[in-house]
Amino acid sequence: MTIAEKQKELLDELNLFQDWTERYEYVIGLGKNLPQMDAALLTNDRLIKGCQSQVWLDCNVVEGKMVFMADSDSVITKGMIALFVRILNEEEPDDVIAADLSFIDQTGLKEHLAPTRANALGLMAAQMKKCAIEASSGHPR
């Protein structure tokens, strides 16, 4: 599946829910199920400080594909992270760079979770792309 196809699938899934409660319960569930990052990885250089919640992001390139791991102290943020990871994981760096992440606006999840300044999630999306750019230019960290 392409990134765009994965996004469409995700939106279709979310649209099945009747109201915000179900949608949020789903995201909270995703957050709870996303594996916790290894404590050793929760370092300051992987930390993205948001206004309200914190996010840790780890990027790797494995056989030419991006592998992301992420965690957060907020379970809703973590659920949203899971959406990003699902969409972007295992994709080639150039596809990640080109991905249109505004799909998150259409999820019917809270507007402020969309990429904006000082929002850990927005900063995380930017950081994911940055990792992909570094990988693509042959300088993975």
Partner: protein, 407 residues
């Protein structure tokens, strides 16, 4: 009986009819900013439709009318806080602006000497921390901090030990915006006076809730924002003792604050004008006075009764929720902060918002206080004249519902 007719009060605040995500708005973020009654909105609109003009320098009639409306507003503010004279009230753009004004004129005054110290407290809002940090850095003063006890009140004994003859200034909030703690500022000021230290009171959280009498408090400066007291954003006030205002140097330079300008030498105007460079927020000042008139009409004691009943009820309801901790002392004014074990404040705030409840989450611009209590933030419900017991009850129910989703 001093009681508030809340249903009637609510009619004055059109925004309260707004729907949030299809639910009726329950606005409990009043410590961040209050809503504005139509009386205030009308005062500002009439100003523009009838007399708008630049003030103080005009010979024409609009300018005269605008000037006297603006000066009348200053008198209203002076009376509201019981200043000795209107010239003790300086219009600023808000509390932060007022505190920075005081900090900077002290820097320039040469009154503060290297090796001296400034005392603040662990309860302070960043606006009453950072300006003093900056001044301490520039003048090589020591910044001392009165610690906060476990119950969210200040450690009075520690204060008495911290304060000494080298203390130049004590800057303390009247009421904590994070926990609702009310400080005994009259006592703090009197101890400061005994070592000749000046006192600056951050009244951002008291102006809409408490009777303010700067003379009986005995402070040298008192700061507040209009927008936290039913007035628009962009206007606030600084009270200062007239003798101090006369002595101290001006802050910003510009029109209005001067007596005479030549390229060789400029002489400054008298207080308050000396501290009001440039065109002030004329409309804002007038609207602020309208807001204080509105509060006076309701009566501060009726407001206190209603708000303290509300906050006590909130503490009672919320206190029954499993794992919920309320911060601060049992006698709190305006704000009530809490956390629930294992739940991130942001997650709870997000779900409450979906149900129409506007609470604040996070550090409330009090990072040092949050660190002191080992949390990254709290949820804060803060109250105003238009909040109801029903809203408080529903809040507790909504918290329960959110917990079911999060746990």
């Amino acid at each position: 009986m001093n009681s508030l007719d809340v249903e009637n009060v609510r009619k004055d605040f059109p925004i309260l009819d707004q729907k949030i995500n299809g639910r009726q708005l329950v606005y409990l973020d009043n410590a961040a900013t209050t809503q504005k009654p139509v009386q205030v909105l009308d005062a500002s609109r009439s100003y523009y439709q009838e007399i708008n003009s630049n003030i103080h320098r005009g010979v024409h009639q609009l300018s005269q009318l605008a000037t006297s409306a603006h000066e009348k507003a200053r008198e209203t503010i002076a009376r509201f806080i019981n200043a000795q004279r209107p010239e003790e009230v300086i219009f600023t753009s808000g509390t932060t602006d007022s505190i920075n004004l005081v900090a900077d004129i002290f820097r320039k005054s040469g009154r503060m000497k290297k090796g001296g110290n400034i005392i603040i407290s662990g309860l302070e809002h960043h606006s009453n921390v950072v300006p003093w940090q900056m001044i301490c850095e520039q003048l090589e003063l020591e910044l001392k901090v009165i610690p906060v006890l476990d119950d969210g009140t200040l450690d009075q004994e520690a204060y008495e030990e911290l304060i000494d003859t080298k203390t130049e200034l004590v800057a303390i909030c009247h009421i904590s915006n994070a926990f609702g703690t009310v400080n005994n500022i009259a006592d703090i000021c009197s101890k400061a006076r005994s070592v000749n230290a000046l006192t600056v009171i951050d009244g951002a959280q008291s102006i809409s809730h408490e009777l303010i009498d700067v003379q009986s408090i005995g402070c040298d400066f008192y700061c507040f924002s209009g927008h936290k007291c039913y007035a628009p954003t962009g206007v606030g006030a600084l009270y200062g003792k007239f003798s101090l205002l006369s002595e101290l140097p001006p802050w910003k330079g510009g029109g209005e604050m001067i007596k005479e300008v030549t390229f060789d030498k400029t002489t400054y105007n008298d207080p308050p004008y000396k501290f009001e460079a440039g065109t002030p927020n004329i409309e804002g000042g007038i609207a602020l006075a309208a807001a204080l008139d509105y509060v006076n009409n309701l009566g501060i004691s009726a407001i206190r009764n209603h708000e303290s009943a509300l906050i006590n009820k909130a503490a009672e309801f919320l206190g029954q929720i499993d794992g919920l901790t309320i911060y601060g002392p049992p006698e709190r004014v305006g704000s009530l902060s809490f956390n629930i074990s294992d739940i991130h404040h942001f997650d709870l705030g997000t779900l409450l918002d979906k149900m129409g409840f506007a609470l604040r989450t996070g550090h409330h611009c009090c990072q040092p206080l949050m660190s002191r209590f080992g949390v990254s933030g709290t949820l804060r419900a803060s109250f105003a004249i238009y909040n109801t017991f029903e809203e408080v009850e529903n809040l507790a129910k909504a918290v329960e519902k959110s917990l079911n989703m999060l746990r």
